[in-house]
Amino acid sequence: MSLLPLVSHPSPDSIIAWRAEGAVTLRQFLAEVRQLAALLPAGGHLLNMCSDRYRFSVGLAAAIVAGKVSLLPPTPTPEVVRQVQAFAPDVFCLTDSDLRPVDLPQLQYPAMAIGRAGSIAIPQIDSSQRVAVVFTSGSTGVPQPHPKAWGALVACVQAEALHLELLRNTPSTIIGTVPPQHMYGFESTVLMAWHSGNALSHAQPFYPADIRAALAAVPPPRVLVSSPVHLRALLDAGLALPEIARVVSATAPLSAQLAQEIEAQCHTELMEIYGSTETGQIASRRSTQTAQWTLFPGVKLSVEGDSVRACGGHIESTITMNDVIEPVAVGHFLLHGRIADLVNIAGKRHSLASLDHLLNSIPGVVDGAFYMPDESGDARVTRLAACVVAPGMDAPRLLAALREHVDPVFLPRPLLLVDALPRNHTGKLPRAALQALFRTRGARNSA
């Protein structure tokens, strides 16, 4: 049995978080973790819905110390909560909201007693302890569980901190716009802070002005962990921002242009992270300098026919990746979109993500996506559709530009010009939203 500490901060006075009231030391954090752990009910599984990132981190730590498993479903809709309860009937919810967020037994985040120092020993956790189960939405509508062991999570975020150059003598503060309940925010805003000696900001900023306020509330150096959607809004708002040492982006690919704008306007370095729920994060790149991703230490890719598998490093068992990955050198690869996105029209195959990339590379296109409608069932070939945000452009010009790159079978019909794509809060384009868009717009256009 090998043991790994809960956090890696060197001194009881190390700052582990910033709240509205000020800095939280490791000493205070450990005292609050002990208080909360003593209050946890008997159930072995926890749905941690705290919206304050510091409280989330105390809830996670208390659960780990008490040997309980934190469940992280994609979105706690009533149906998903029922499915999570079917997976773990003893699940209870930890919440810091006065509202009753879900239909589960619940524990209100307590008011903490202050000034009780107690032990400053950092709890040591068995690296094989299952501390979390992350769920993916699953192609059939039933969430798929992915268990996470402590040792693998720690190894992953240690590698991330190394790649992001955050293992410095001067600790940074990590400000996240992404929720800690999703894999990316879980790893990059909570676990990485714990295992790189850095501090996390309690804030969960939403509007650009919130992001500015959350940045200004903590001392430099600051690290902003975000997504393309939030970064785009932040740039568009044109606010004067405090100094940001590093910006981290994940969840969806960032265009080279947006990456350059972020670095120029924020006087910062932008790093993109690549990973999956199954593997955790496995690679990073400095997007303004290279299209190539660099794998985390020990992680290896192997090509097996049409698919690519990842293993080694922190990855617990070999995982077949859902992306079109082209290894280009030892430790490096290029990403060409998701395998699930492959379309086959009249025998010709193309990756939807690479079509999206082509579309978004056309000068004047702000955002755009292809969409493959469901097969109609009759003998007619189903055609791709696309929706595009391109102020000042018209469909014939866009089609002419696309025609230069792709076989005519891949040209979209219809091509809808829209003011924005129906992206969700993580920046992804749900198929259902595209379906709805084309259903309403298609009917209108043909009427």
Binding site: F206, P208, A209, D210, A213, A237, A420, H425, G427
Partner: protein
């Protein structure tokens, strides 16, 4: 510096129409501005806006009315509760 801030201001019907038109234009809604009921919810089952829509509208509102929306209180959902609440917030906080 706080300019023209009037926390008790309520919005006029004219401002509400203006904000409705802003939302329709900014979000490319498939309805006309006068189809947005003043007190119908904007989130979820009403107009069906999501958080990305809210970000888009917030950006337009900040450009047109010179105010920055912030969610440091519990106001976030309240402000975007309805066309009336959003318009009232703009009436109270606008600087132009």
């Amino acid at each position: 510096m706080q300019i023209n801030q009037n926390p008790t201001a309520s919005s006029t019907a004219e401002l509400q129409r203006e904000v409705a038109a802003l939302m329709v234009e900014c979000l490319n809604l498939e309805i006309s501005a006068d189809q947005i009921a003043v007190d119908a919810p904007l989130y979820g089952e009403g107009l069906g806006l999501d958080s990305i829509d809210v970000l888009e509208v917030a950006l337009e509102v900040s450009k047109r009315y010179g105010l920055q929306l912030q969610s440091d209180s519990e106001d976030n959902k309240t402000i975007f509760g309805s066309l009336r609440s959003l318009s009232d917030h703009i009436a109270a906080q606008r600087t132009r």
